[in-house]
Point group: C2
């Protein structure tokens, strides 16, 4: 069965040396001294390794059950959830006034990686709650916050997001769930929602659903949509959970993966709901949480890949098969370990260089969110809005690919459920789909984000890359291994942007046909930038006579691998983009 | 639930127009007139659509059971198997003297695609039998053939291949299963084999295991290995199955996919076995069937992709979501069908252009096997040996990717097992692993096949590509859309080969580090060649005033898509290859 050890050393490297977090001028960052963050990460690592990871495979195998209207989570989940509550982990980056610890979002993200790696399905109960809390924090009245948040921060109650209906996912303008205003100011909510993660379960005493529905008078399409709080149990006057609301589970879905999380069909049969935020402004309200939610899914992509990589690596060192082509390294044994074979290394290096680059990218993204929220930095807000579809789309595609690669290292054993590698693949697969399928991310990036604020944020990104290159050009080692490939990749990205500007004006399909490739091209440039920054940090540590030479040399070699073997992909993406709309749009729908 | 319709029109196009099969000078090919092959394919299509495809999802869901030593296949498999027997499908390309129909292997391949698309797990019971029959045909004595083949051709008995053991897959030199010679000329076989597809089941009255084991006196490693026939039931004097042999199922594996096929742990406890072929020559005996077996797995890659593509396409036409950016195409409906969106088309075209190219490539490969076996054509044998790892490795990687893409079209529904798209992904995954994991295919290609016979076969391949380009250069439409990209891709392949020659001499790791990329680079060039040939055939039909204009125009557009959007990948593969061994091998094993 797979095991997991939190990569606290690498997380610390990113926080302290790549991002230099304690010196970032954002309220709360001054407290993030290495000793403190290290202690937090070590603690999270312990619970991840000892409590969450052991339930990952068993939760997958057992799955959730729906019996007589009650949803049961797999054995052990209740105790583990209690341990999360006892540790106060959900409140880590939530306001102190509602029982949280008030740390920056960055710390929630770093700890989140650890929990997701250990048990993605389990962590979603907490993750969805976190998302719902954010929505109430931003859009709730003081009374709503006081009513709902303390019990949600403590995880006594959990939260959900109810958006999708059977006939519409992305295209939310089509939703049919209705909200009828009542005399007491509440609404009667009627309709069916599907794919509701953590929709119901036996881990908490109440579930607080956030539901998109149409109230009268809002007009057609998305304009008519409002957001409602619909609890599973209505609250009594003293605020404690009381009678059942008219919301029930229709069924739980049989899914490809994340079996430990109950994905529910939710039926609202005139359920009592409370308007959250402004009437008919439900869509903008959802969008305010989108950057965080999507960053959280991008994180799932590489976090699962980290877990699968750890196990693939262990297997590659342990399994004896074949001989090194340059001479036996284990001459007394029946064969050499798999890791001697160049193609196994190619596979492992693809995984390792992706995961470490993705970690730096995501944590950097989290600092931008903190800059935006804690320091009202509009440029940071603009930049993270631009990068969010890249983080979500690129990291989940690549994370899945990495999990498939990890499974491949196991040969036939990778296909047998007992070994646990299949689960990583099956779990990672959903991250490419939910929270906006990756094709929708690409559309958001090219159709919306690129041109936002007059293209200001993408220009700022290019300036940042250029600036870094210029600043460090004098360093010969950095230049050859990192800056030159980064420059070439960045040039490809700019050329793609130019193509969209020139051709997209005439024919929007010319830009959209290349949107998926652009998202990946952008992702490679971002990881290239993160690797260049990581390499600089590693060189600095080595120059300063670090006592941990091996770590930094490994970091440099891993980065060089990414630059030499992954970054050339940008040329192919550019060539595809420049082939324009014609190859993609040539066929009539009936001719397919 | 997914449905399936055999692509008989496209199969006919490849057979008659791309390959011009009736005019190929191979014994038996003269009979393959369009009317005849069309009738065969239509019949296969019917049984696939009506009998096999409806059992695909149910077989996946129910899986096989192992109770009291007996393996049960899913409901309906028995009747379907009877239908396959009644139709004589297994014997299609097997010798008439043992009850087959004696058609070329090519026809078995074309029909095989249809059956695999409809139900991969089910078809494996027959597929493994076919492989075992081939082994007995080549290596068996006349008596062995007479004893075993008639009942195997008729599917009254099925066959298996027993190679892998718990501690060794690819590295068969490590196997521990023993064969002890007995006075009567038979052997006592003792050991454990794992991952035995169709290892036991309730579909046939006997199972004929072909088992690799070590008999005394053969020496170390693979040299000591012999191949044995070990039946589940020993035969009585009259040839009918009698008492149980000492072979039993230890368990059946819980796998990621192909649930309808029983993957067994087989225990041989002094079972009676009969030497097949020469003593201590078991490995070469296995290798004689390798091209066919691996082509059959490559076929699984694109056959599953064909099935998943058909369903993704239907969903994309049916599901209403969003509006076309260039204006509503379904203004009276709530939204436009998914297929209006450029990125959905990009996704579908990736699948379609892959599957059709792969089909042509595989059927061309089957003609090479027929040339080798039926016309003793050594050049064809050399060429197919070279191409086999490409067919197996490239087509299964890309087939899996295509199935993942098809699942993606369904959005959240793709992740729900009920919709059936997850199964295609889970089933397709195994083809990248078994019959030699794809990394091993890459090693075989670069480490062995490239240099075989002094590099003669790869040179012949390049000459073929060059010849085709030269011959057709005068055709402007073909030149721009097909020949120029093919030339560029072929140049990349040659440059990669040159790099291996120059660097691999000094350091074999420099070649092996690029082996996986080389396999994919080669695959793209092969599909590029097949698309160029298909385009030529389509142009010819159009010039001749075909009555089926739409088919040929669609073919040309699909081909142009592949050339414009897939073939540029060769440049990235070349760049990776040329980065050499250093990035891949830099880290010490402990530094990972």
């Amino acid at each position: 069965m797979p095991t997991y050890d939190a990569p606290t050393r690498d997380l610390q490297f990113v926080l302290n040396e790549v991002l230099d977090v304690p010196n970032i001028d954002v309220p709360g960052y001054g407290d993030l001294e290495p000793d403190f963050t290290s202690a937090v990460l070590e603690e999270a690592g312990k619970i991840a390794r000892d409590v969450l990871a052991p339930l990952n495979a068993t939760g997958d195998e057992e799955g959730c059950r729906f019996e007589n209207g009650v949803v049961y989570t797999p054995a052990g989940f209740k105790d583990a959830f209690q341990a999360m509550k006892d540790g106060g982990w959900n409140g880590l980056d939530l306001p102190e006034e509602f029982g949280g610890q008030g740390l920056p979002y960055l710390m929630g993200t770093a700890v989140g990686e650890i929990f997701v790696s250990a048990n993605m399905a389990f962590n979603m109960y907490q993750g969805l709650t976190h998302g719902a809390i954010s929505a109430i924090l931003v859009h709730g009245t003081d009374e709503q916050k006081a009513t709902w948040l303390p019990n949600m921060v403590s995880l006594d109650w959990t939260g959900t997001m109810n958006l999708t209906e059977p006939h519409c996912g992305t295209d939310l303008g089509q939703i049919r769930t209705k909200a009828e205003p009542q005399d007491d100011g509440s609404y009667r909510i009627t309709g069916q929602k599907i794919f509701i993660s953590a929709g119901d379960h036996d881990l908490a005493e109440n579930v607080v659903h956030l539901v998109l529905a149409k109230a009268p008078g809002g007009g057609e399409g998305t304009k008519g949509i409002s957001l409602f709080i619909v609890p599973k149990l209505l609250l009594k006057d003293d605020g404690a959970p009381g009678p059942r609301n008219a919301v029930s589970v229709g069924k739980i879905e049989d899914k490809m993966g994340i079996h430990g999380n109950a994905t529910c069909v939710m039926n609202f049969d005139g359920a009592t709901g409370y308007l959250l935020g402004e009437l008919h402004r439900g869509m903008p309200a959802m969008f305010t949480m989108m950057n965080e939610a999507r960053l959280g899914v991008g994180l799932q992509g590489y976090a699962v890949a980290e877990a699968s990589y750890q196990n693939a690596l262990a297997y590659a060192k342990d399994r004896l098969q074949g001989r090194a082509v340059t001479g036996a390294v284990n001459p007394d044994g029946p064969a050499d370990p798999l890791i001697v074979h160049p193609d196994i290394r190619r596979n492992l290096m693809d995984q390792k260089s992706f995961v470490e680059g993705a970690r730096a990218f995501t944590l950097w993204g989290a600092t931008l969110i903190d800059r935006s929220h804690r320091a009202d930095d509009d440029d940071a807000e603009g930049l993270i809005s631009l990068l969010t579809p890249v983080i979500k789309g690129f990291l989940t595609d690549k994370g899945f690919e990495a999990a498939v690669n990890a499974q491949q290292v196991y040969g036939g054993h990778g296909y047998i459920e007992e070994w646990g590698m299949s689960q990583f693949v099956r779990d990672a697969r959903i991250a490419m789909i939910y929270e906006g399928a990756n094709g929708v991310q690409a559309l958001d990036l090219v159709g919306r984000k690129l041109a936002q604020d007059g293209g200001k944020h993408v220009m700022a990104f290019f300036e940042m890359v250029k600036g870094f290159i210029k600043e460090n050009e004098g360093d010969e080692a950095l230049k050859t291994g990192f800056l030159d490939p980064l420059k070439a990749a960045s040039k490809d990205l700019q050329a793609a942007g130019m193509f969209f500007m020139a051709e997209g004006m005439k024919n929007p399909n010319a830009a959209l046909a290349g949107s998926y490739d652009f998202m990946h091209l952008f992702g490679h440039v971002c990881l290239g930038l993160m690797w260049a920054r990581s390499a600089k940090a590693a060189q600095t540590a080595l120059a300063n006579g670090t006592s941990d030479k091996e770590f930094y040399e490994t970091k440099l070699a891993t980065g060089r691998y990414y630059m030499a073997r992954q970054l050339p992909m940008t040329a192919t993406h550019l060539a595809r983009i420049q082939s324009g709309a014609e190859p993609v749009m040539a066929l009539a729908a009936d001719a397919f």
